[in-house]
Subunit: 185 residues, 4 copies
């Protein structure tokens, strides 16, 4: 994620569900390109720290929400790319996409011949309120993940390799959409 | 290919013709940036698995088509770049190019002073049908390879270094064409 | 910085405040992608060489200015990106930004819901005169750093990891602004 | 050069003047990202091979021309970037640039406050004829190097680090110019 420029400064966060049900997540203020084991902490499904002396980032709640809602989720990635930032500040409620072979990287998708909306949620420093705004849409189904305006994407999967492949797929789709809007702004 | 961003998620596939006539090809669902020997399998020229317990990707048939039609072909690359995706969704039947020195990277080309069409085929989840649509154009001659709409390019050569050089050349040409269309959308 | 393309040729410079109060800074004409210990020299707070036989670059004065004005500053970075160069040549007095989550990477910022101006100063080969032009703005407060037209950005922090995170944040914001101006030039 | 994408396929070539007066240059058809000692050959100042069994690339003559005309030249680089290709196909006779701090990376330049023209020459597969077309302009002075249309840049310096720094500077200027033309195509 760092090599691709998707976690500038201390943006972004990364988590996996552990065998004992806790969540391992990058702690607040860490640079994702220089991670050490000490930069990762454990939290419970409500986002409370389970590693002494570590403070979870506020966005930990958005990870926990996905683990609680979707029991099959094993990994969650939050990236912060230029394409996601710019498109989410230019569009109103969603980024509509059609006809990409890469749709097949996402859960349950078997064809390019489909239209998908990536929902955009307004940014909010009150993460509990933001999570509450997102939850109904997650329950409807959200195969491509979602984006927070001016902030970045959330995507998840049954394990880290799948979540990472979906993040690459989503960022590819966003980069294509950004290129397309240059043809017809 | 991974370092250049041409095989996002589990997109793309890579093959070589073995000395015994079989084809070694990346198997279905593998990430090309994390390949291990276990991610490569053997198939025959009809695309049937010759490695027990491995499933070839559907697109294996497009590789086999090239090996069958062109006996001198030793390697085939399928990449999935932003430029190929966006241009193939913006143009109708081909991407026309003129005047590039890099034409000389392709089979039989000796001058920049030429015009070449990169043919675009509509994407199709039925790969046998897609192969049938492509075959007449391959027989006419197709030195720059071809592109499947919203999906990516196919390019080949007598060996892997030549196929990789042609892929780099083709992606360079597509990136230039994308830049040019920004001057006059 | 080199891997991101922010220090082309021998552009850019990098400094830290040492425990004894001197400043360690890259010396004149060094390529930041091939730095060795011999490419770093010590200066005092007035920019005079404290390493025998080494010549400080002219821009050393801009680093010293920041260390003198802001006692909490421990590291200063001067980068030279395409986005900073192009935007600073297209805009008059500042680059105005609004609504980015990444504002929180900068000193004292706690929300995306704000507007910040990145001040632009005209380039000047007389660095003492340039420093004098910059100083009043620095005293007013300048959390995102500043940019010299056609030349690049200056950003600082209490230590090198923080300064680097802020540089990544600033370059991300500039890259976003450059993308946005393509929608509405 | 390979990591930056400036030598796609087998494009580009690299040379240095040896202590005995011969020129060491990458031989024809080599990929610059996979160079081994066997990919480099010696030629004399007229471009004749001085390594048995090796064939110099046609463009070797353009390197020799620079070494003959400018005795202080110790290294020559020919790169093949997207920006150089696209801009040289969009402009007529030169690419005019003004006001860049990075001008100071080039021979004899001490200020940003200047205007420089990067001359464009039409591509020609007859390299002797191309060299003859370039020579008068080289004699006039050509501090930023030159570009061949649809083909790439030539830049040189007293040694390889300086030539590489100038190449980085030139590609940075070209990338900036390409971005600027998006504001006002």
């Amino acid at each position: 994620m760092d090599a691709r420029g998707w976690v500038p400064a201390t943006a972004g966060n990364i988590s996996v569900r552990l065998a004992d049900g806790r969540i391992a997540i990058t702690s607040s203020g860490t640079h994702k390109g220089f991670l050490t084991p000490a930069d990762v902490m454990a939290v419970d499904l409500d986002g409370h720290a389970r590693t002494p002396g570590k403070k979870p980032s506020a966005e930990t709640l958005l990870h926990c929400q996905l683990y609680r809602l979707f029991p099959a989720t094993g990994a969650v990635l939050h990236g912060h790319s230029i394409a996601a930032t710019v498109l989410s500040m230019a569009e109103e409620k969603q980024i509509r996409m059609h006809g990409y072979e890469l749709f097949k990287a996402f859960e349950g998708q078997t064809t390019h011949d489909a239209t998908h909306d990536l929902p955009i949620f307004p940014n909010d420093q009150d993460i509990a309120r933001l999570a509450a705004a997102i939850e109904p849409r997650l329950r409807e189904g959200c195969p491509l993940g979602y984006v927070i305006r001016g902030h970045g994407v959330y995507i998840w999967g049954p394990d880290m390799p799948t979540a990472l492949a979906r993040l690459e797929g989503l960022e590819f789709l966003l980069a294509c959409e950004l290129e397309k809007r240059r043809f017809s702004p």
